[in-house]
Subunit: 415 residues, 2 copies
Amino acid sequence: MARPPAPLVAEVIAIGSEMLFAGRVDTNSSFIAAHLDRFGVPLVAKTIVGDDVATIRKALAIALTRSDFIFLTGGLGPTEDDLTREAASEALGLELVYHPKIVDEIEARFQRLGRKMPEINRRQGYVLETARALENNYGTAPGQYLVFEGRHIFLLPGPPRELRPIVERHLISLLQDLGLRPGARRYFRVAGLPESQADSLISPIYRRYPTIRCTILASPGDIEIYFLADHDGNELQELTAKVAAALGDNVFATEEINLEDAVGRMLAARRATLSVAESCTGGMLGETITRTPGSSAYFLGGVLAYSNALKEQLLDVSPEILAQHGAVSGAAAEAMAQGIRRRTGSDFALSITGIAGPDGGTEEKPVGTVFIGLSDATKTTAHRYQLGGERSLVRLLSVRTALNLLRKELQRNRS
Amino acid sequence: MARPPAPLVAEVIAIGSEMLFAGRVDTNSSFIAAHLDRFGVPLVAKTIVGDDVATIRKALAIALTRSDFIFLTGGLGPTEDDLTREAASEALGLELVYHPKIVDEIEARFQRLGRKMPEINRRQGYVLETARALENNYGTAPGQYLVFEGRHIFLLPGPPRELRPIVERHLISLLQDLGLRPGARRYFRVAGLPESQADSLISPIYRRYPTIRCTILASPGDIEIYFLADHDGNELQELTAKVAAALGDNVFATEEINLEDAVGRMLAARRATLSVAESCTGGMLGETITRTPGSSAYFLGGVLAYSNALKEQLLDVSPEILAQHGAVSGAAAEAMAQGIRRRTGSDFALSITGIAGPDGGTEEKPVGTVFIGLSDATKTTAHRYQLGGERSLVRLLSVRTALNLLRKELQRNRS
């Protein structure tokens, strides 16, 4: 009796000593995993190795014994620490071939930036003899792709902004060429709920559909929920409807879009403008809003009023409010939002004032106490939040909460 | 002739399917690596595997062939997904022995929380026959330590708050018992140079000292360089002096400190204050400065003048400058810095105006053109930069460059 072919599996070998030390985190693997996931190919292992030929070689040799798709990320730079090319050459017994055309392109890239290409960048012109070079529009190192003993091997540059476009351009078409089909997928993007609460709302629902896979990816203030089924049938539609009802207006998108982009689209659609007044976030709200290209269409700017004097001077917060209620108060948040809206003439204004910590907390207003104000032509309101975690998390959650407050207002009030 | 013993190396096997998906990041490895690094034991590989006995077993078998210290993290919980004990037992050919005393302690732990221990927690009472149980004061799963064929193997609980105290209590004393001594270390923190340029300045130097290990960690606008030697001798001192001379005033610290913290310390030391005026960075400069706890001692705030109107209104940039030179110009950057300094009364002011892209570039001012202004009581200057990469990188490099400009000014002018 013929058995169905064994399912295809993938693995990532992330190269770079910096990821073995503190702080540097590999985000490429999850990006690759998300793409593979849609086609039902699981990532079964991820190995992080330092910049050492023998270790990289060994990791690749092991991967060849068990995985159909192998992604080597990083180590394609120009310096002597960048050893992925050499390690792959040794592990696979393939020569590295010098491509003058690739080096010409790297030289042209430097020229456009008004700089001379250092000699060491010539190393990036070497490609494994049976591999195809994959153009990198955001950096000097081209990617490489080859088939070796039935295994599909990618060599990809480490910086995410360089790796991602290459994966998007080449991996999906390869998977399709191999006859793999993406399953049916539903997506929810959720703000304003902690992960545990979101999961307890929806897990009683999705557990009743054992053939549909659920993946929840959570980062502070932002949850992505995927449902993946073999086909787009009644079950998936039923599940989706129930989940949507359970999550209610915490869902801000059913496509892959950031909260700041979603808010930006809504503002642009109604030709409305926004300004901000920030205290404890020190500019993070403005920074987040302006990540979106074209945000100048709706974002006018704002004021960072870190000191009380600036709250008075640049935002017209009255000294009485500061004296009576303190800079971290609902009254101050309202006055800040109103002040920046009047000064800039924007349609909407958001304000944030709070105690990000580690110092400055009191019994009445402990670290994590944050007031967020929202002002438009008809009303100004402020809400108090108690946000958990240390300084950077309090700041991040403040920004997410402020954007979500505006998002809900814009959705409620589709004028 | 006797050869010196091969240097000891370590590896981590992190167990848990959740780390193969997006969002869940393993921070245990870098914690362990930082401790090992001081004793000259490099972490040479880190493998992340799912909750699967065969894969864990295989990873451990590979680790036994190459590493002296092996850390298995995670998979020690009570559920059926927690398979590290069984996988280690199979890979090492060692029995698991039930320790009623450990289970008694787990039961007592539950009792203290007013709960009854579920039966499944009995699984956590199994310890490899030659291993020592390592008490876990923050959770139910004890760690395990054993020596197997000369390899030091740790089984550690996955939650960082449980793992860290166990590592701190047992690893350092083990390394010392093995006769290892923390090595000598030198550190440089560098801003204002791309990695390739920094490396070509110093690689001719450090290559002449083959017994000293050099590690370069680069992120945009920020480079860390470590030199590690067995002992603090003439060679390390010579190397350090030469590297310091080659890097010149691009070195901003010889201890582990961020550029924003270094600038903050310098400002605080001279009781000087700072304000910012941001256009294309939209708040990222202020956000970066205020990451530092206590930054309110020197940071007053600033203005996000994303629109031209706000540049005039809130920063007193004259309409003539905007009309003649444009909002992205040296004249505008100078006026912005001067404007915010006067408005806030700060001692120093930084301004950023530029074209972050992807749109808005012209032949004369392509995407990546950024002007940074610096103003104090005696002078106001602006510099033009051509920064590479896409929107987020242009913004990040603008912020790094602005902070570095102020840092150099403060260092030059230690009044």
